[in-house]
């Protein structure tokens, strides 16, 4: 069973394809590299907001489970990416965070899943708005395809564009 890792050196899966990760994750640092796309934690963002906004390259924020997207809602226009952490696969807070980012705050950038996540959750993740994953797997594309194939009927409306059973019944 593959798990998503925080170790960003393993392949990044984005929209079902292996993609080179343009971002570097920096935590607990105050000395940011002058160029290159960065992912910082919420505290760093709050403390160094103007400095980070002054950089030319894309910026992303990683939210720990329990940190609400409402805390960065006003900044989302400046962000290219929000990473949401799963401290354990059983901790489902980030599922709500992802939906809020997409559906409440209409965030159009990348929403990335990091942390400890079951392969079996990929399907749910893609439904709530995640579009990238760091998959510790020998064949992440194949894992992604299997996860997409688990189910092709959905009862719940989300904003992922899939047609729900209720819509199908209406014809």
């Amino acid at each position: 069973m593959a798990r998503l890792r925080k170790d960003f050196t393993v392949p990044l899966l984005k929209n079902g394809k292996i993609t080179e990760d343009a971002f570097t994750r920096v935590t607990g640092e105050t000395d940011f590299p002058s160029t290159g796309a960065l992912i910082v934690d919420l505290t760093s963002w709050q403390e160094h907001r103007s400095e980070l906004l002054g950089r030319a390259d894309p910026i992303g924020i990683e939210l720990a489970a329990g940190e609400s997207p409402s805390e960065i809602a006003d900044d989302l226009g400046n962000l290219s990416l929000v990473a949401l952490d799963f401290p354990a696969f059983s901790d489902g807070r980030a599922f709500s965070s992802a939906r809020l980012l997409r559906e409440r705050y209409h965030f159009k950038g990348e929403v990335r899943a990091v942390g400890d996540v079951l392969l079996e959750q990929l399907h749910f993740m893609s439904r709530v708005g995640f579009d990238s994953f760091v998959l510790d797997s020998e064949d992440p594309v194949q894992e992604w395809l299997i996860a997409q194939d688990d189910l092709n009927l959905w009862y719940q409306p989300t904003e992922d564009g899939r047609i729900t059973v209720r819509q199908k019944r209406r014809g």
Binding site: E120, L153, Y155
Partner: protein, 552 residues
């Protein structure tokens, strides 16, 4: 009753195939037990003391003859020829082999059944009034909304990894037979002064280690907003519910620690943002589902059925059964029939394969092929012609399902306890058997009248002991099974929680203690009072004093 359309059927088959693949990976060793555990739990498969246990959902308790026959078949072929009806209106099979699971799931899927979300930290099987759709006292059929909730909660992408399990109960009657105030969300349909139908929404009820009665957080929710309001509650809970301690992770603790008013504000604020979105239930969608619950083709019958009088007079057993087992039907000439699966001296809620198959046949003959499972671990035939009652009773006698103890002292609720369960501290089934044996005499039971004894073999409270008029909690004290008593609980519209009365008793001692409590009640009651009413009038005081005084 609701029958799957092509989408529902396809959904369950897809899921059965997915889990079958996972089982095969476990059997081949590709998955370890640790990796397999969350997957099997998502499909209702527990590893108990002696074997795997499969919990099969019976959505809001509704079961067809074809489904019951299939359950009998599955229990015979893959288990020890019996199943167990649970307080969540489900059926459990206790002796399952992992290698049989793929085949079992296919068998169940062929009759629209499965174990999806019957365990795990997700929204569990929705429960409802066992008389839903036929009760004379009903305002509106809750099954329509249960079905919306069932579909909405099935593999919900946002709410499949909640802090803890989540239970719904729905009733459409002022007389609560679904224990809605003892659930994470309890819903009661009613008609307001303007003649509109909506829900009272109770949140944060529950039993277990920390029992709470649900708080009324919205006194009128128009039915079209049911799903968006529930989504708002679940979103607040998913984000803020405690995850640091599984014993404090249920929504009842969040509501308690946040405070009722503050919690209500959080929910209402979230709801405002989503209330008019895609989760709204327009009347056209409701009409589609309502049509699937169209009543059967009732005959035009006189309600008065004179033949019953002579049949009762000539058959004392039938007379006793008639006194206890019926409930009022909305249709003239028809009645609701309770079928006891809690016979004297036997485990509450156990039913053999042979009985399942017989009941399936009888439901076809007498009840349009439909029955219900009750949270009291019994069965209900929903639509029986009154003129058929004598014939039905005779057939039930033949398969030992005619015990006339509905609502009487021998009709106990009981968890599986230490005979099966890995969590239990004490056995509960043998105690239930002893209690029903001690009170076997029908005249004595009728003299005692309506009373509910609920027992659990540990503090997780699967036997709902806090809401029993007499609750029994099994504990382990220095390797001895000890039973504590609590009085005055109720799961109905007047819901209340019992408190521990005093020192516990051993297994024989607790039976004697209950007999004493009953004697005290009979001595103290005023005309027509039930046990609960007497206890409410007098409190624990006289019961405690006389129970623990020197042996008389």
């Amino acid at each position: 009753m609701y029958q799957y359309d092509e989408y529902d059927q396809d959904f369950v088959e897809q899921r059965a195939r997915q889990f079958s693949r996972q089982v095969e990976r476990r059997i081949s060793g590709e998955l370890t037990e640790d990796q397999f555990k969350p997957l099997r739990l998502m499909n209702g498969l527990y590893l108990q003391l002696h074997a795997y246990m499969l919990r099969i959902n019976v959505p809001y308790g509704c079961l067809s003859s074809a489904q019951m026959r299939k359950l009998g078949h599955v229990a015979r072929l893959y288990d020890k020829s019996y199943g167990h009806l649970t307080t969540r209106q489900n059926m459990q099979l206790n002796w399952i082999r992992l290698t049989d699971m793929p085949q079992i799931l296919l068998e169940l899927a062929s009759v629209e059944m499965h174990g999806i979300q019957s365990s795990g930290n997700c929204i569990r099987n929705i429960t409802a009034d066992e008389y839903a759709g036929v009760a004379a006292d009903e305002v509106e059929d809750p099954r329509i909304y249960c079905e919306f909730l069932r579909q909405w909660s099935s593999l919900h992408p946002e709410f499949s990894f909640l802090p803890r399990k989540f239970k719904f109960a729905v009733t459409g009657s002022p007389n609560d037979r679904a224990a809605v105030k003892a659930h994470d969300i309890g819903l009661r349909l009613y008609r307001n002064d303007q003649g509109e139908v909506g829900f009272e929404v109770f949140v944060g009820g529950g039993l277990g280690r920390t029992p709470f009665i649900g708080k009324l957080i919205r006194d009128f929710l128009p039915t079209e907003h049911l799903l968006s309001y529930c989504e708002a509650i679940l979103r607040v809970y998913n984000q803020l519910g405690r995850r640091d301690n599984k014993y404090k992770a249920r929504i009842k603790v969040l509501v308690h620690e946040t405070g009722e008013e503050a919690f209500r504000e959080l929910v209402e604020k979230e709801w405002e943002a989503i209330r008019d979105g895609t989760l709204s239930l327009p009347e056209e969608d409701v009409a589609l589902i309502r049509a699937r619950f169209a009543p059967p083709k009732y005959e035009d019958l006189e309600d008065d059925t004179p033949s019953l009088e002579s049949q009762r007079a000539e058959n004392p057993g039938f007379n006793d059964w008639m006194d206890q087992q019926l409930a009022e039907h909305k249709q003239a000439g028809y009645t609701i029939v309770n079928i006891s699966c809690t016979p004297i001296g036997k485990p509450p809620g156990d039913i053999s394969s042979e009985q399942m198959e017989s009941v399936a046949d009888l439901a076809e003959t007498y009840s349009f092929g439909e029955m219900r499972v009750t949270h009291n671990q019994n069965l209900v035939f929903t639509d029986v012609r009154k003129k058929d009652l004598f014939s039905l009773w005779q057939d039930l006698v033949k398969v030992e399902l005619a015990t006339p103890n509905h609502g009487l002292i021998s009709d106990t609720i009981c968890c599986p306890g230490l005979d099966y369960c890995a969590l239990a501290n004490a056995r509960s089934i043998p105690l239930a058997e002893k209690i029903s044996t001690a009170f076997a005499d029908q005249e004595r039971q009728k003299e005692i009248g309506e009373i509910y004894i609920n027992m659990s073999g540990c503090i997780n409270a699967c036997g709902h002991h806090h809401v029993g008029n007499i609750g029994i909690l099994g504990v382990d004290k220095k390797n001895t099974e000890l039973y504590q008593l609590m009085l005055g609980g109720s799961a109905k519209e007047d819901a209340s929680l019992g408190k521990i009365l005093g020192p516990g008793f051993d297994e024989d001692g607790v039976v004697t203690a209950i007999e004493k409590l009953i004697d005290i009640y009979l001595d103290l009651r005023k005309d027509g009072e039930t046990f609960l009413e007497t206890h409410r009038r007098l409190g624990d005081g006289p019961f405690k004093e006389r129970l623990y005084s020197a042996p008389s």
